[in-house]
Structures are given as C-alpha cells and as structure tokens.
Symmetry: C2
Subunit: 250 residues, 2 copies
C-alpha cells in the first residue's frame, strides 16, 4: 500500500493579512503524520476566483488528493466553489439535496440568497453523507473528483477532516532518536553519509544550547523508517560514522 500524497489549499484573505492565524495546516500535518499520509504541499491564497482556480488546477493534478480549507460560507468573499468549478471547467449549479437540507435547517422558511449560496456546488460534485447519528453538523461534505471542500473554521474543519480521513491511505513511520554532546556542524559529515546510504530513512537534526554556556551544545538526531530493520541499520551506521570527539548521551 502506497501512502497518499495530499495537498492542502487554504483560502483566506484574513490569513494573508494577519487578521486570523491559521491552525488548520498544523492540525492536518499532525493528523496525516500519525497515519502516515503525506502532506506534500500547502498553499494559501486570497479569496479570489482566479487565484483559487490556478492553485486547484495545478495541485489536483500533481497530487493524489486536494483538500481546500475555507471560502464555502454564505458571504460575498466565499468563492472556493467558483474557483474549483473554474479549475475543472464545470458550471456552478444548485444542488437540490443540499437545498433541502438547508431548508430543513432554517425551519422551512424560504432561503435567502445568501443561505441558498451554500447549496451551490460544481456540476459534478458528490456528497459524503455522515452515517453517525451523533453528527450534529448539518451539511454533508462536498467533493468533486479528488478535491474535498472543507470549511475554514477550525472546529468545523477538524470535524470534516475526521470524516474524510478514511479516504487517504497511510504508512505510519517508526521512530528512534539519540542525543549527542557537541555542535551540529561536527556531525554533519556523518549525517550526510548516512542520508546518502539510507534513502528510505528520514533523518532529522535538532541542535540546542543554553545561552552563555558553550559546554551546553547538544544535537538530537532523529531516525524515521517504514520498518525496524532499516531503522536499526541507519542508527548503527550513523554511530559508526561519528567522529571520536563527540559523545553520545542517550
């Protein structure tokens, strides 16, 4: 099983102008990493149809899946649906089932123009209906081809992300790490040789020190691999390559 490569497109002028700090990117990164799904690319665009369309076209064809975050509410600057439709060369249509759900939610009253906006979808869109009786979020998840349109509000975003997680396949990585006394540049040669020898292993190098204490320099080296054998081999090889004047603490 191959891990899915997924791109995330955050739509939101308010993030680019500093009015709102995005948290959906970090949330997605953590969720995906734990399952072994690959977050391959993230982009943030303003609420402009052409900017969204350009990114959607490129990302949905480059990666296995694309998630969009934001821009699907009722206001004038919610143009993600239009952007996605434009990228795919599809019309925007009113989805009758979504309209029914909205009418029910708004107690049968005639929908305002703004409310019925939320029933608009790209022509070939499909719905992911929740089967959970405890699901109190009233609108089904809209997707079209390999593109999943999620709301931007973090509470809603994480709720709908949970719904679509089964779509993505993942290969969780195994971890190991060691701490070394010394400065990072002293072990870079050993690290580089290890990286070249073990292309399937991911190495991380995280230096730290206490200000004013030259003896406090430390480096944490992390190893991540799809199986125990390559994890152990990579660690052993790296330790062999380390120069003698560095000491491994743990």
């Amino acid at each position: 099983m191959e891990a899915s490569k997924v791109a995330l497109l955050v739509v939101g002028q308010e993030i680019l102008t500093g009015g709102v700090i995005d948290v959906n990117i970090a949330h997605t990164a953590k969720k995906f990493y734990d399952k072994g799904v690959i977050l391959a690319k993230v982009e943030i665009v303003p609420d402009k149809i052409d900017d969204i369309a350009e990114a959607v076209k490129r990302l949905s064809t480059t990666y296995d899946y694309l998630i969009t975050s934001g821009g699907i509410g009722p206001t004038h600057d919610d143009v993600t649906v239009e952007g996605v439709a434009k990228a795919l060369g599809q019309q925007v249509i009113k989805h009758s089932y979504l309209e029914t759900v909205l009418s029910r939610h708004y107690k049968g009253a005639t929908l305002t123009a703004a409310q019925s906006r939320m029933a608009m979808v790209p022509a070939e869109a499909e719905l992911l209906i929740s089967t959970s009786p405890s699901d109190d979020y009233f609108l089904p998840q809209v997707y079209v081809k390999n593109i999943y349109l999620l709301p931007g509000l973090p509470k809603l975003y994480s709720h709908y992300l949970e719904h679509i997680m089964p779509v993505f396949t993942g290969v969780p990585l195994l971890h190991d790490e060691i701490s070394i006394k010394g400065i990072e540049t002293k072990l870079t040669a050993a690290l580089n040789r290890s990286v070249h020898k073990f292309p399937q292993v991911r190495f991380g190098s995280y230096p730290s020190f206490e200000p004013g204490k030259p003896d406090s320099f430390m480096v944490k080296i992390t190893f991540e691999a799809p199986n125990e054998a390559s994890l152990a081999d990579a660690k052993e090889f790296f330790l062999e390559q380390l120069s003698q004047d560095l000491s491994v603490i743990s």
Copy 2:
C-alpha cells in the same frame, strides 16, 4: 506609489509533518499588513530541490518579490540555495566574502564541509550588508534578483525580515467597523450590494454568538479603504442598505 505584491515560500519538511508549527507566515502577514505591503501568496514545500525550484520559478515571476523561509543552514536537508539556483538556471558557487565572514566567526579555523556550505549561493547572488553596529547576526542577507533567502528559525527570520522591509513599498489601509445584532445571512444582501458598489474598499464580515443563546447572534462588519472619503461612503451606503429588522449596536 503601488503596494508591493510579495509571495512567501516556507521550506520545511518539519512543518508538513507537524514536528514544528510555523509562525513566520503569521509574523509576515502582520508586518506587511501594517505597512500596506500585500502578502499575495504563501506556499509550504518539503526540503526537496525540485519542489523548491518549481515554486520559486512560478512565484518569482508572478509576484514583485519572493521571500524564502528556511533551508539555508548547514545540514543535508538545507537545499533552498540549490532550489533557487535551479529555478534561475544558475550554478551554485562559493561566495568568497561569505567564506571570510564564516572563517572569522569560527575563529579562523579551517571550515568544515558543513560550515562552508553556508558560503554557497546562486552564482548571481548579492548581499545586503547591515549598517547597524548593534547587529549581532553575523551572516549578511543573501538575495538574487527579486528573491530574498531568509533563515527559518523564527528569531532569525524576524530579524532579517526587519532588514529587508525597506525593499517593499506599502499603502497602509484605513479601518472602520460596526457591530450589528442578528444573524449574518440577514445582512448578506446589503453587504453584496456594497461590495459591488465599492470595489476599492475591503469588507469583512465576522459573525459570533454564545452557544445556547439564540438572541446573542452578532456580526462585526469591517471596512478598509485607502482614504477617508471612500471609507465613509462605503459605511454610509452599507447602513442604508441594511434591512429595518437589524439593529446597529456600535
């Protein structure tokens, strides 16, 4: 004077895998907004030369300037310089002045391969030398054409961003806002009419409520414009358009 349109490219596998939460995006957004510089696009890529090169090529030709964050340290996964050079079709060369600065910093000792890596730059790179005597960050800012290569560590990133801010021109916006009692969809029509009438004004719509209190629905409408006249006109027009069953609180 036109406001500069700037793209930000964050290079960092650690952000895509949730190991580190990016703060440079929000910092840049706030700094730019205050000066009236436009943060037009943000992308996050893994530490892969081809991914960096693709994004650099596209962003540096689409926008006035491109800032890169991260990937310029001494370790194996610091490949931003290679990515930028590839995007521009330039060789990576050793910069003799940077090498001198590094040697001085490392007390005249022969540079390790890892240390001298930080003297590597795209062939046509130039340096922005700080004239501040209090500047205790030892490496000059590297840039090539309209691309500024900044370190990813937030403390360093914000320091170097401060240095390059004079490069960008900005037109700060004026603000106004009102709070309205009611639900957002009731004022969307008025908002949409206003948006169409005042293309040079930016409108924001931010609903809020206390759970379980149907009477607590509120919407904050924000206005942003380049001058006092259009700010006042837009607010006045919007208030005229509001339906009678909504009350303006402030």
